[in-house]
Amino acid sequence: MRVMSRNAREKLYFNLFRACGGLVVLTLIVIIAYMVIGSLPVLSLDFLTEPPRRANTAGGVLTPLVGTIYLMAIVSVFAIPIGVLSAVYLSEYQGKGWASHFWRIVVSNLAGVPSIVYGLLGLALFVTFAGLGRSLIASGLTLGVLALPIVISASREAIKAIPPSVREASIALGATKWQTIQHHVLPYAMPGILTGVILALSRAAGETAPILLTGAAFYMSSMPDSIFSQFMALPYHVYAVATQTMAGMNGSPVVYGAAIVLLILVIGMNLIAIVVRKKYREKYRW
C-alpha cells in the first residue's frame, strides 16, 4: 500500500502539523481580536481613571483595577516571604529524606487544586471561621494560600538549579551556612524566584472563583477604605458585568474593555517574568 513516497508522506504530515500550529495561533488571535475590537469605543486613558457608572454599564474600571492591585499587595505580603523562605529551608536545610520528598508532593499537589476549592476553603476558614467577613483581607489570604505552593515550587526550582560548587566554595572560605545562603544562594536564585513570584501574582490577579465567594462586590461607590471592607476586582468585574447587566450580555464595549485591561495586566506580568528568566538564563550558565 505504499502509494506515497516517503518524502511526499513527510510533506503531508508536516503540513498537517503546521496547520495545527497555525490553528492554535489563529484561535488565540481571534479571541484577542474580538476583545480588542469590542473594546475600541471605550479604550482610552479615561477608562483607567474613571470609576464605573450607571450600574457598571458605563464609565471606567478604576475601582476594580485598584481592588485587584490591593489584592496583589496582600498576596505579596503574605505569600512571598513565607513561600520563598520555606523554599530556602526545604532546599538548603532539609535533607533528601522522606520529609523532603513528602513536601515536594504536598506542594506539587496543592498547586494543582482547582481554584474554586480554594474559594470554598477561604469562605469556610477566613470569612466564617476567622470572622473576617467578606473582605479584602479574606480574599487576599485565600489568594495567598493559592499562590503559596506556586511560590514555593518556583523558588525551590530556582535554588536547586544552583550548582553545589557555589555553596562548597563559600563554605570552604569559612562562611556559615546562612552567610552562604544570604550572599550566594539567594542572589543567584533571585531571577528564578522573581519569575515564580511574578507568575504567582499574575495568577492571583486573574482568578475569579476564589474571590467570588470571599468578598468581591458588584459595585462600590468609593475605594475600599480598610482591609476589612469589600472591594471590586477586575476578573470579578468582567464576570459580573457580563452576566448581571443587560449591557454586558449584549456585548457592551465596557465588558470587553474590562477584559482587555485584565489581559494587559496579567499578560504584562507574564511577559516581565519571561524576559527576566530569559535574560538570566543567558547570563548564568552553569
Binding site: 499537589n109 474554586i116 507568575l199 486573574g206 467570588l212
Partner: protein, 309 residues
C-alpha cells in the same frame, strides 16, 4: 569564637528537638516559617475533609457518590447524588481532551521539530503567555461569541451546550499541553536523533519512531496535566453552557460540573448545614481527582526525567 559558642548551645537544644545539622538562629527562623506554610497547606486538606464529614456521614458515601439526582434545595425530597455532577465534569473535560489532544500534539511537533528556530523563539514564549490568560476572559468569549458559532455550525437551537464548554476548555488546555510536551521533546538527547538520521531515516520517520516514543511519557504527563486544568476550571464552564444537573453524556445538552456547582450554590448554603457540607464533599472529590491525576503525571514525568540522565 563567640558566634560558634552560641551556635553550639543552640545546636544542642536543636539536637534535642530533632533538628539535625543545626546552625544558628536563621535555621530556627526558617524552620518556623516552613512550619507556618506547612500548617497553611495542611489546613487546606484538613478543612475540606472536616467540612465534608457531615455530608458523608448523614447521606452516606455510596448515596453521595452513586446517587443519580443532585437537587439539594428541593423542598420535598432533597437529593445529594454527585453522579450527574461528575458526569458533567467528565463530559466537558472529555470533549475538551478529544479536541485538544490532536491539535495540541500537532502544534507541539510543529514547534519542536518543524518550526524555524527563530519562529520557535517567539512562538514558545507566546504560547506560555497564553497559558496565563485569566479563565474569565475565555468564559466571556464562550458566553458572547463562541456559542453563536456552535449553534450555527451544528444547527442547534442554542449554543449554550456542553460542547461549547468543551471547545473553550480545549483552547485553554492547548497552551499548557504544548508548553509541557515541547519541554519533553526537547529533553530527548541529540544522539538518538542523529543516530536515526545516520541510518537513513527521514525527519518524519525519526520523529515517529524515535523522538515521539522516547518522549512519550513526558507527553502523556503533559496531556494529563492539561486535562487537570479543564477538570478544575470554574469560570469558563459557568459561562459557557446551561447549568442543568442532568446525568447525560450528550454533548448537545446542558450539564453542570462539580466546580460550577460549588460556585453557584455555596453563597446561600447555611454554615454547618447539610447542603454546605455536601458542597465540601464535592470539593473533596474534586481534590481527590486532581490529586490522582497529579500523582500519575508526576510518576510518569519522573520516569522520563530518569530515562535520559
Amino acid at each position: 569564637m563567640k558566634y560558634i559558642n552560641r551556635t553550639g548551645a543552640l545546636s544542642r537544644v536543636a539536637g534535642r528537638t530533632g533538628l539535625k545539622g543545626f546552625d544558628g538562629a536563621p535555621h530556627l527562623i526558617l524552620f518556623i516559617i516552613t512550619l507556618i506554610s506547612a500548617t497553611v497547606l495542611v489546613t487546606v486538606a484538613a478543612f475540606l475533609i472536616l467540612g465534608s464529614l457531615q455530608a458523608f456521614r448523614v447521606i452516606g458515601i455510596v448515596e453521595m457518590l452513586g446517587g443519580t439526582v443532585w437537587n439539594p434545595t428541593s423542598f420535598n425530597n432533597p437529593a445529594f447524588g454527585m453522579l450527574p455532577l461528575m458526569a458533567g465534569t467528565f463530559l466537558v473535560s472529555f470533549l475538551a481532551a478529544v479536541i485538544a489532544i490532536p491539535i495540541g500534539l500537532g502544534c507541539t511537533i510543529y514547534l519542536a521539530e518543524i518550526a524555524h528556530p527563530k519562529v520557535r523563539a517567539v512562538l514558545k514564549p507566546a504560547i506560555e503567555l497564553l497559558a496565563g490568560i485569566p479563565s474569565v476572559v475565555y468564559g466571556l468569549f464562550a458566553l458572547l461569541i463562541l456559542q453563536g458559532w456552535v449553534a450555527q455550525v451544528f444547527g442547534l437551537q442554542t449554543g449554550y451546550v456542553a460542547l461549547n464548554g468543551g471547545i473553550i476548555l480545549a483552547v485553554m488546555m492547548i497552551p499548557i499541553m504544548v508548553s509541557l510536551a515541547e519541554d519533553a521533546i526537547a529533553a530527548v538527547p541529540r544522539e538518538l536523533r542523529e543516530a536515526s538520521y545516520a541510518l537513513g531515516a527521514t525527519r518524519w520517520e525519526t520523529m515517529r519512531s524515535v523522538i515521539l516514543p522516547a518522549s512519550m511519557s513526558g507527553i502523556v504527563a503533559a496531556i494529563i496535566l492539561s486535562i487537570m486544568r479543564a477538570v478544575g476550571e470554574t469560570m469558563a464552564v459557568l459561562m459557557a453552557f446551561n447549568q442543568t444537573p442532568l446525568l447525560t453524556l450528550d454533548p448537545f445538552s446542558g450539564v453542570q460540573t462539580m466546580t460550577a456547582t460549588i460556585a453557584i450554590e455555596m453563597g446561600e448554603a447555611a454554615v454547618g448545614g447539610l447542603h454546605y457540607s455536601s458542597l465540601f464533599a464535592v470539593g473533596v472529590v474534586l481534590f481527590i481527582i486532581t490529586l490522582v491525576m497529579n500523582t500519575v503525571a508526576n510518576r510518569i514525568m519522573l520516569r522520563y526525567s530518569e530515562a535520559y540522565r
